[in-house]
Symmetry: C2
Subunit: 513 residues, 2 copies
Amino acid sequence: MPPQASAVSFAPLQPSRLRARRAAIDTYQQHVIYMRTDCHVCRAEGFEAQAQVELVARGRHVLGILHRVADGWLQPGEVALSDAAWQALQVREQEEVVVRHPPVLDSLAHLRAKVHGARLDYAAMRALMEDVARGRLSDIHLAAFVTACSGGRLDTGETTALTRAMVDVGERLEWGAAPVMDKHCVGGLPGNRTTLLVVPIVAACGVLMPKTSSRAITSPAGTADTMETLAPVQLDTAAMRRVVEREGGCIAWGGALQLSPADDVLIRVERPLNLDSEGQLVASILSKKAAVGSQRVVVDIPVGPTAKVRSEAAARALAESLRSVGAALGMQVRALLTDGSQPVGRGIGPALEARDVMAVLQGAADAPADLRERALLLAGEVLEMAGRAAAGGGLALARSVLDDGRALRKFVAICEAQGGMRVPPGAPHRQVIEAHAGGVVVAIDNRIVARAAKLAGAPRDPAAGAQLHVHVGDHVEAGQPLYTLHAESPGELAYACSFVRARLPAIEIGSAP
Amino acid sequence: MPPQASAVSFAPLQPSRLRARRAAIDTYQQHVIYMRTDCHVCRAEGFEAQAQVELVARGRHVLGILHRVADGWLQPGEVALSDAAWQALQVREQEEVVVRHPPVLDSLAHLRAKVHGARLDYAAMRALMEDVARGRLSDIHLAAFVTACSGGRLDTGETTALTRAMVDVGERLEWGAAPVMDKHCVGGLPGNRTTLLVVPIVAACGVLMPKTSSRAITSPAGTADTMETLAPVQLDTAAMRRVVEREGGCIAWGGALQLSPADDVLIRVERPLNLDSEGQLVASILSKKAAVGSQRVVVDIPVGPTAKVRSEAAARALAESLRSVGAALGMQVRALLTDGSQPVGRGIGPALEARDVMAVLQGAADAPADLRERALLLAGEVLEMAGRAAAGGGLALARSVLDDGRALRKFVAICEAQGGMRVPPGAPHRQVIEAHAGGVVVAIDNRIVARAAKLAGAPRDPAAGAQLHVHVGDHVEAGQPLYTLHAESPGELAYACSFVRARLPAIEIGSAP
């Protein structure tokens, strides 16, 4: 039976048009559309504040939330766009745009089904990721999707479907050479910035490692944030290809490349929610790897009571999920479970971590040994997996490349190829946190340290964060500095200090044995 | 061991101050704070776009999302507030306000625990509902909470804790007389507007029924939306008390009364998500009932394949949950399972439903019999539960009060007491949907009809919606009108029509038997 509505005839409607202007309002990534309260298009189309509105010009579409303006800065016949919406639509000032209701989104039925406990297949995930990547879902819908997939509510089949869908709605790179290597750290361990060491070691051995990294989701720094304090990371595909062809490796921000663009959108809501579920973690990691053309991947999973992964059982489950979803997508994934009991190195925050990295590359006397050893372990694993070193021989090869300066030279060359090396900034406002009593450091809480670094402004302010002066096992005297908070503004320093003051200590001191 | 931060001394910081002004931007209920891109406070406090910002003035606090303005309409030293934020803070133009980071919310830890599958106790629910009611949670966090509680993820204990917490963070009314009666319909059945009939019948019998109703969550009309086309519903506590003391009953909008205010905030995100989970449904219903002082409640649960409750098993589970949570809060709840297979009456949408109600009250020849019979059944049950009629005698009493005009006179008196009776508006734009072939009406899809009515503008536009011309079992000829869409603007009419055109028919016609 055909739809009955075929019996209905519709009067042709003129599309509603307004002249576009830049509102000059920064709403971060959110698209906001401003129309006058008395606008005839609002009346004709029935738009109210917070309605979703679609603008069309030159074949480009932008969806945004409507805010209605009664003040005089918006003229009759005009529609204004927030900075993000203006960049997305790419029109000129006063250019005519069509203003209309967005199409009804069928993907929302899949979202509701997932909330109610249904399994989603590839077609459902694909429809959702299309709409996510195109910016058609509101923050409220994105938050519901992220939540509905958290807490173990994605099985392996769904995670594979989600990963494949995330890859398929974006660009996909190919390199024409094999093997293409990659590494990833699951995170949750402040200061664990091994990528900036592994890539130059591996590339210096002639192995291809076109590395893309993310900005922080819930941590005080992502690898891209840290690298950006040393060199530009916002490379397009052509620039990335030039760097990799010249140096064999790169450390670029993935978000600039339209690789798994749905992931970047989801991260926007995962960040304020402070959620990063296993299924989405696997999909996020592997969709980026598949899209960038990686074939063999080493994954570092730090395990510790205050790391992202808290138990060996959880780590093994995650490793198995990465392996099986990776295999389904044609990738070989090897996971290493590492010590996640305390932060790595001294710095926590983009610039502070970059300094630790440079100290290791330069073989400085005070370079953090823990960061160095972790990087060598991972680089050795990558070299073995690539067939460049025999089983058991990767570590020694990595160590020789780091110690003889080849890794430093390669890192500098990569930075120069990415646009020029630079010096990480320093923060003008600092506060030392001292030991309240003497004793031995028995524990450092990764989450509290990371939270304090974030409240101090990291990663948004690259110089902000925390610098640790002690590690677990160190003896301290009363009044001895434990860590220093760094901030770019006094307000943020006060905010971080008031958090530290109100909490249990980030660094626990016991009586000396 | 005391927190180590006791060893830290902090330099006293001057609070950051700006002059407030109304931005004259309508963002619906969302609080948006506008500061200049070059504002010294942004710099000092490290605020970026989309950051949460707190404004304080005269002891009042407002939390909002920051949007940064580069255009000239905002002067140096000024902070502008969206309409909702301006109303909440209640300052004068150019009055000085303190601008600062909001306090760290401990309730978010409970939210994350719930997302990860933990059970929440009363203390956790109370902390969350405090922050929800005070507007401290962003839409993203609210959406995560609603999602994490959906799909059967709240057990009876948690639902009771949530309900109690929702009551405890708001006002609570007491009436000094007993019994205080109430009724509720679970919804999902378009046009089921029995409250406007039950209240005058019961009140005409001298039984106290101080009824508060909600606006629509996911439907084309809530009872408050429909009542508002006949009389003012935005009564404060004192006004509501005056109406009830004079007439024995009222039909007021609950949202104006600060009864379970957290519920009103949650509804803001439930609406776009189109989610309304069992646990939250029970908490939403019973928190309003407990807060308004109700002691005995009749709940109508329509059951049908396209109603909100789709199976008798689900209805029985919901009834049991309502009974047990009600008992835990000291309320007697009786649930009636009713036929939810098709819409009730003819109108769907505030004004169209109000006309059906008036036809029943006036005893009009063409009054919808199904609406009348459902209202009599419920009114009879309330009268029996109140002890005004013997078991089995309620229906006859209700019928006599409706038929002899006492219910109509009481309804008019209530409308007058609430501020004056008025005539529901009519819609200027209409489209008739005709039968594509002759036959018998075998099914009407509540969801598709409701969706079409919403796309036409209901309940935001009170005159918008759908009017049914047939019911299940009716014989129709090809070309005979099945229903008419009503809209206040041509854009919305086109939007609803394009939805109807793209879908399976809302009204299914089979071959005549």
